[in-house]
Symmetry: C2
Subunit: 116 residues, 2 copies
DNA sequence: CTTATTGCAAAAGGTTTGCAACCGA
DNA sequence: TCGGTTGCAAACCTTTTGCAATAAG
């Protein structure tokens, strides 16, 4: 809950193993899914790689690097108002949204600039 | 390219098989990925189920039904301007974004209302 | 004692890949 | 003839599941 990054289930597994060496990956998946279902955490699906999880549940925007796959919070204006706008033009029921910018993270941008 | 829905690779496969009965699912995946890479079509990742593909490549917003998994275009205001806003507050390079609303589509909303 | 949670291993998707056969310039 | 595409089957990766064993209340 305290971390600022957006770990995959595998990463959470690796980390929690230091404290609970006998825990299994299945249990990690089970509990992350559970937490996501009850809204304690958020699940972030990316176009490639595995899902990522986020302890921050307030509305905010994510950036996904198409090169290294990292996920970063973008602290820009709150765009929750879009839900209402969308709701008016749509006969279904809107419960939320996910906004994912994509491109190159600062790290990978440098890698591309320098060297071949 | 002409369809308005957002077929999965499997759906495309089933359909194209009528004209090319010997085509394989791998070829469908290969060509959909290729088209997506060169920007001729768009790939839409959903939190559950398989990826979907979209022949519409102009900026627009999608809705994903968490019950039946369908994907629908939402014709609301163009929010491309967000890319610029985001770019200013971010040291990496933003190349685009994907916005996915989620909730219940009109169909599934009715199913929930009536019966049981 | 009773119910809920876990570990393990296997299964289940969905997608990609190696490779030989094939097709089109 | 030669490079690019394809079909097939197998591999891959991520996630889920069945079930017996274990832990918790």
């Amino acid at each position: 809950m305290t971390r600022q990054d957006h770990p995959t289930a595998e990463t959470v597994y690796m980390n929690i193993r230091k404290d609970f060496p006998r825990i299994s990956l299945a249990t990690v998946y089970r509990n992350l899914s559970l937490l996501a279902d009850i809204g304690e955490i958020r699940k972030i699906s990316t176009p490639d790689g595995p899902d990522r999880f986020d302890a921050r549940i307030d509305p905010h925007v994510h950036f996904h690097c198409s090169r290294c796959g990292c996920v970063i919070d973008l602290d820009m204006e709150d765009i929750s108002y879009l839900d209402e706008t969308a709701g008016k033009a749509f006969a279904g029921k809107i419960e939320g949204h996910s906004i994912l910018f994509h491109g190159l993270c600062p790290n990978c941008m440098n890698l591309n600039t320098e060297a071949s």
